[in-house]
């Protein structure tokens, strides 16, 4: 077993160094799909989460329970729902985006959005509780206070993004269902691992897994640095 892992590691290095075009495309697509999903989720989720974190909203606790539940939405389920929606037999079939990267982005956004909203709410709310009175006492308007609290919540919001990205890049259930694992078009690292495993090419599968982890590490390296900057000003 250890032999497989070591061979997998060597295979991974070989792939990287020889610029195997198929794998590089898979790598790029993984980043592209998950990255776009996180970006979209952030653009929607951070404002929504901030609003929920700052304002007393009726039914807040129920909403949070709902959000927490959806944070754990099984990717296959999300994939299935999106598939049925985008299917030519389904309501949005005319858009013809099933079995394309666009469908994969949509499915992953559904998975990532609750995470970003939920963690943003938690982060903003805790800052709000700590800071709000003190800032108002110093003479801030509600709008100024909201803005400051948002800025102070930056580390927590970055955590939300990190968590969301981790979820997206690692999942396979949603993208394989709505994307179809089409070679050179909708194949990403996780679905490629599924393929190689099915064919019993374990070394290749492990190599792809190592590449996936390395990619994840590099991205999180950057995100972590960004977070540290926000903390230590």
């Amino acid at each position: 077993m250890l032999e497989s892992i070591i061979n997998g590691l060597l295979e991974a290095l070989k792939i990287i160094v020889t610029f195997n075009p198929e794998v590089y495309w898979v790598l790029f697509l993984s980043l592209f799909v998950s990255g776009t999903a996180v970006l979209l989720s952030s653009l929607i989720g951070i404002p929504v989460g901030t609003y929920l974190g700052l304002r007393p909203v009726p039914g807040f606790h129920f909403l949070m329970k709902l959000i927490y539940t959806f944070m754990g939405l099984p990717p296959v389920l999300a994939g299935l729902v999106v598939y049925l929606l985008l299917s030519r037999a389904g309501p949005l079939g005319f858009m013809q985006i099933l079995l394309t990267p666009a469908a994969m982005i949509i499915a992953q956004t559904i998975l990532v959005l609750p995470i970003i909203v939920g963690l943003t709410v938690v982060g903003v709310r805790s800052k709000e509780e700590a800071l709000h009175s003190q800032i108002i006492s110093l003479g801030a308007t509600e709008r100024q206070a909201a803005w400051i609290i948002l800025k102070e919540s930056r580390p927590q919001i970055i955590t939300a993004i990190v968590t969301g990205f981790g979820r997206a890049i690692a999942e396979v259930g949603a993208v394989i269902m709505v994307g179809g694992n089409i070679s050179g078009y909708t194949r990403v690292l996780t679905t490629a691992i599924v393929l190689e495993t099915r064919r019993e090419n374990f070394e290749m599968a492990i190599a792809l897994g190592i590449i996936l982890m390395a990619l994840s590490f590099i991205i999180n390296f950057g995100l972590y640095k960004w977070q540290q900057e926000a903390v230590e000003k």
């Binding site: 009175s133 006492s137 110093l138 003479g139 230590e232």
Partner: protein
């Protein structure tokens, strides 16, 4: 003549249906150092929050410089809010340098950055914190954070400065420094100061006026000398007793 800065009339306040503050009549006077005393959970923090306009009393009226602070337009409320500052028991600084934190209140008021710079430098020097100006707030000790919060409040030059147990995290050196600072401020500027503290010896050194709370009610209030030398209530005697 001693002028009333703050007047409470028939004020009652409730938390979860429970009556936590019952003050039929209380005056806080301008340009005086008023010390607010009382055992834990006697309603001191509640009283401060009401005075600082962070909450509105369930019943009654509160006046700041003869203005009813309860029914106010947003602008008028902001105007009054910016004339008073509370330094909280557990102050929270922003993720920034000490300098930026102290400048914060001034930025809120939209002041010119040159003026801000001057004012902050002044305050930091006054509080003997200038050597820490560029230090990140996350790297300040507990005592330094406390002093920084006080500097932050001072910087906006309020008419009313409220200090909620400011001595908590301070070592004796700093306590002495703070006491001196408070006395200097009171003398040099037109600032009214309300301090909540448990340290009775300090009270005797600093107080102009004393208000003693117990279970949400004012047991006794008046000039410090009278309270110390001639306490009217048994409770007061017991509470203060033994120091003078």
């Amino acid at each position: 003549m001693t002028q009333s800065l703050i007047e409470l009339r028939n004020v009652k306040h409730y938390y979860n249906g429970r009556l936590v503050l019952n003050v039929p009549y209380l005056d806080i006077f301008s340009n005086k150092i008023t010390i607010l005393l009382g055992p834990n959970a006697s309603g001191k923090s509640t009283l401060l929050r009401l005075i600082n306009m962070l909450e509105q009393p369930g019943e009654g009226n509160i006046y700041f410089k003869d203005v009813d602070i309860i029914r106010l337009s947003r602008e008028k409320r902001l105007e009054l809010q910016r004339q008073m500052v509370m330094v909280f028991q557990r102050p929270v600084l922003l993720n920034a340098t000490l300098f930026e934190n102290v400048a914060f209140g001034l930025h809120l008021r939209g002041m010119d950055s040159k003026i801000i710079e001057k004012r902050v430098e002044e305050v930091l020097k006054f509080m003997k914190l200038d050597h820490l100006a560029d230090r990140s707030a996350t790297r300040l000790s507990g005592g330094e954070v406390q002093l920084a919060a006080i500097a932050r409040g001072l910087a906006v030059n309020p008419e009313l400065l409220i200090l909620d147990e400011p001595m908590n995290n301070l070592d004796p050196r700093h306590v002495k420094l703070l006491e001196q600072t408070v006395l200097d401020i009171s003398r040099e500027r037109d600032m009214s100061i309300i301090i909540v503290t448990h340290q009775i010896p300090q009270v005797s050194r600093m107080a102009d006026e004393v208000v003693l709370l117990e279970e949400g009610e004012v047991i006794e209030s008046g000039p410090a000398e009278e309270i110390f030398n001639n306490p009217q209530k048994e409770f007061t005697r017991e509470f203060i007793g033994g120091i003078i």
